[in-house]
């Protein structure tokens, strides 16, 4: 029997292995990282994975660049926290573990209402409409303090309702496992969605809408249904976030939140299904750890994002897959010296640049504490010529050597790609 569609080989072979590994990772992570910070971060990662994957239904699979995805995750959060408060008062006999699904369905309702207008167009007009609707909802969240809680937000208590099997969701670890189950199920469902006829048509609408119309499909309907599906999963993640933080402020529907989803989904890689998972992990790491480590983290984030757009528009996932391809033909051994050289020179350049950025931030923000500052164990004088000259020298040396290594690497990489093409041709003739 011939295959009806192309399938990527390693995935087909090891699909069971990969999904079991994913489940095991979700199960085992809190046993390895047992600290309180680690547990909250893992919970946030699970939530972020669902929302980034749901965003990628729009961006990666549908080619729809949305600037208002936080509307759906955020309104899901609000409806979920109000439901939770009703459960706490004893007005609703819903178990707490099902509240994220309430969030999901409320996001679906919002998407059914707003999605028809939104998905009328694709491309740039779509992006602007989502931006406009995002701003609309964000402005409204400040106009209706009764529902959105005004500046202080709406808070709740997740220890409520019936306690099945003695699970109260009071301790973070119990909630983590709830989030882990949701993450696994939602990821599986979203992967299954890419294999449904609707998911396939969505790819077709992304690639060639004109032809899809000739075949007899309504492109707007395909986009509309996909939009609703994406909103459902975004709402689930919003509901989980409401349970996790036990407070929902109007910040969750803001443009910043939508921008963050876009940024990290793209960084992770929108062209592969698993890309947004990487992006989600990076998002939590950046928001929690990087923002602790340096005040300039938004600047670094913007720079990394711009560089990725310019040089690797497929994100981290595409870099991984490119190297997997090289490795599967056994050429990775030839490259590791170049990688090492690139990494070392890149780090040197980064060190110089970051020392300078940190010194500027120090001058701007903490100058009252004196001009001396500590960075990575070094003591720097942000007003001294030595520190500035040293940092500049380190950065320029790093940049120069990096450029030399990069040129060498580009040549090597090109040769290897030619070899691989040849190898593929040779195997075809066998």
């Amino acid at each position: 029997m011939s295959k009806t569609h192309y399938e990527f080989k390693p995935f087909n072979l090891g699909r069971t292995v990969i999904w079991s590994l994913f489940a095991i990772v979700l199960l085992v992570m809190p046993l390895i990282f047992t600290g309180g910070l680690a547990q909250t971060m893992l919970s946030q990662m699970g939530i972020a994975i669902i929302v980034c994957l749901s965003y990628n239904i729009l961006l990666g699979q549908g080619g729809m660049l949305s600037f208002g995805h936080a509307v759906y995750s955020g309104l899901g959060s609000f409806l979920a926290i109000h439901t939770l408060n009703m459960v706490s008062k004893g007005n609703l006999p819903i178990p707490v573990s099902l509240i994220p699904i309430v969030g999901g369905f409320s996001a679906v309702l919002v998407a059914v209402a707003l999605g028809w207008v939104t998905t009328k167009k694709s491309g740039t007009p779509f992006a602007m409409i989502t931006l406009g609707i995002g701003e609309l909802v964000w402005a409204m969240s400040l106009m209706f303090p009764g529902f959105f809680g005004g500046e202080g937000g709406v808070s709740g208590n997740r220890v409520a309702g019936a306690k099945t099997l003695g699970i109260t969701f009071g301790p973070q670890i119990q909630l983590y496992y709830l989030i882990a189950i949701y993450t696994f199920v939602c990821t599986a469902l979203m992967f299954a969605f890419t294999r449904t006829p609707l998911g396939r048509m969505l790819n077709a609408v992304r690639d060639n809408p004109e032809r899809v119309e000739f075949v007899g499909y309504d492109t707007q309907k395909v986009r509309y249904f996909a939009f609703i599906v994406a909103a459902f999963f975004a709402g689930i993640s919003g509901g989980l976030a409401a349970l996790n933080f036990e407070i929902v402020t109007s910040e969750v529907v803001s443009g910043y939140r939508s921008g963050a989803y876009l940024l990290f989904t793209f960084l992770g890689g929108a062209t592969f299904f698993f890309g947004p998972i990487i992006g989600a992990v990076l998002m939590v790491l950046a928001f929690v750890l990087l923002s602790e480590f340096t005040k300039a983290w938004l600047l670094y984030l913007g720079l990394v994002f711009t560089i990725m757009v310019a040089f690797a528009p497929g994100g981290v996932a595409s870099l991984i897959m490119m190297n997997l391809r090289v490795a599967s033909f056994g050429y990775l051994r030839k490259l590791w010296v170049s990688y090492l050289a690139l990494a070392i020179t890149g780090l040197v350049a980064l060190l110089g640049a970051s020392v300078m950025i940190e010194m500027v931030y120090h001058l701007q923000l903490n100058v009252a504490l004196g001009s001396e500052m500590k960075f990575l164990g070094m003591t720097l004088d942000s007003k001294g010529v030595n520190s500035w000259f040293g940092a500049l020298f380190v950065m320029l040396t790093g940049l120069g050597l990096f450029e030399v290594c990069r040129r060498q690497f580009v040549i090597e990489w090109g040769n290897i790609q030619i070899d691989i093409e040849r190898e593929i041709k040779r195997r075809e003739t066998l």
Binding site: G63, L65, V117, K120, K121, S122, G123, T124, P125, A127, M128, I129, L131, G132, I133, E135, L136, A139, M140, M143, F144, G146, F147, G255, G259, L262, L263, F266, A296, L298, L299, L301, G302, L303, F305, T306, V309, A310, P313, V360, Y361, Q364
Partner: protein, 315 residues
């Protein structure tokens, strides 16, 4: 009457400022198909550069120098950033300008701090232009309108009466033919992008001291000018003009009106009490709704006239 005329003048001056921003945005969009997400960031840069230059040499040199610097930065970004991702398609082009808006915001906060800077109206323009029904109309508002109108005239003359304008117009619709005739179309793109950014910078110079010069200024005006471009019709300059003035006037009027549906219902003899369903909605004042009016307008336009007020094509 007093409220009406003063609001109309204020609305007009705000609308003209919006047009200075949206004209560049819509020119860039119709030519390159790129929605410049960082356009409002260039507006902010204009205001901050003007502030810095004013401190050294005064306002009048800043009025000319700051837009030129912003324009050069814009042209450089087009050449080294945007042109590189052009081959990947429109989404990466939009994303790189999105990334740029992040970087500019952070850099501005880095150099000038997170609070507002003291960028003031020059002494020569500080004072009332005329007094109407006992209310003074500030001279600086008049100056803003004058600059915007002069710029509007200059753009119109440039696009219709000069050789470079003809090339730009031709490159809008038939870039391949223009290239075949021996014109350097990428350079025209760079010029248009730089010019659009310079216009945004100019708007920043005259808008920064009329309003507040702070890191949030790009965000507040940024989404409004996108609304203007969509409402006016993607890529239509005259549509952008109409939409800017319309939105400027509507928003200015709405801020000043203190009525609500509740009040209207009372006049008709209907009683709406806090127990009535949807009380929060009925009791909203028009002035409270003012911030969302442009977006509401956007959604309505998209439903009833998807190509915009004066647009020729659909998206």
């Amino acid at each position: 009457m007093e409220f009406f005329i003063i609001s109309l003048l204020n609305g007009l001056s705000y609308g003209l400022l919006l047009f200075m921003l949206s004209s560049g945005l819509t020119l860039i969009f119709s030519m390159m198909g790129v929605l410049n997400f960082a356009h409002a960031s260039f507006y902010m840069l204009g205001a901050y550069f003007a502030f810095a230059i004013t401190e050294v040499v005064g306002f009048w040199p800043a009025l000319f120098v700051a837009p030129i610097i912003v324009g050069l930065l814009g042209a450089a970004f087009e050449k080294y950033g945007l042109r590189r991702v052009h081959k990947f398609g429109h989404v990466p082009e939009l994303l790189i300008t999105f990334g740029l808006s992040f970087i500019i915001l952070e850099l501005v906060q880095l150099v000038w701090g997170t609070s507002s800077v003291d960028y003031r109206v020059p002494a020569a323009l500080d004072g009332p232009l005329f007094t109407l029904f006992g209310t003074q109309f500030p001279m600086y508002r008049g100056f803003m309108m004058l600059v915007a109108l002069v710029m509007l005239l200059a753009i119109w003359l440039l696009l219709t009466r000069t050789r470079i304008g003809l090339v730009i117009q031709a490159a809008l619709t038939h870039p391949a033919t223009v290239e075949a005739l021996g014109h350097n179309v990428p350079r025209v793109f760079m010029l248009v992008f730089g010019g659009g950014c310079a216009l945004a910078g100019l708007a920043g110079v005259i808008g920064g001291n009329a309003f507040v010069t702070e890191p949030g200024m790009a965000g507040t005006v940024g989404s409004i000018i996108f609304v203007v471009v969509v409402v006016g019709g993607m890529g239509s300059l005259s549509g952008a003009f109409l939409a800017s003035v319309l939105i400027g006037v509507i928003q200015t009027f709405a801020v000043g009106v203190d009525a609500s549906i509740l009040g209207g219902a009372r006049m008709l003899g209907l009683q709406i009490t806090p127990q009535t369903f949807g009380y929060a909605l009925w009791s909203l004042k028009v002035s409270q709704v003012a911030p969302i009016l442009p977006y509401l307008f956007l959604v309505l336009i998209l439903i009833f006239r998807p190509k915009g007020l004066l647009g020729a094509r659909e998206g």
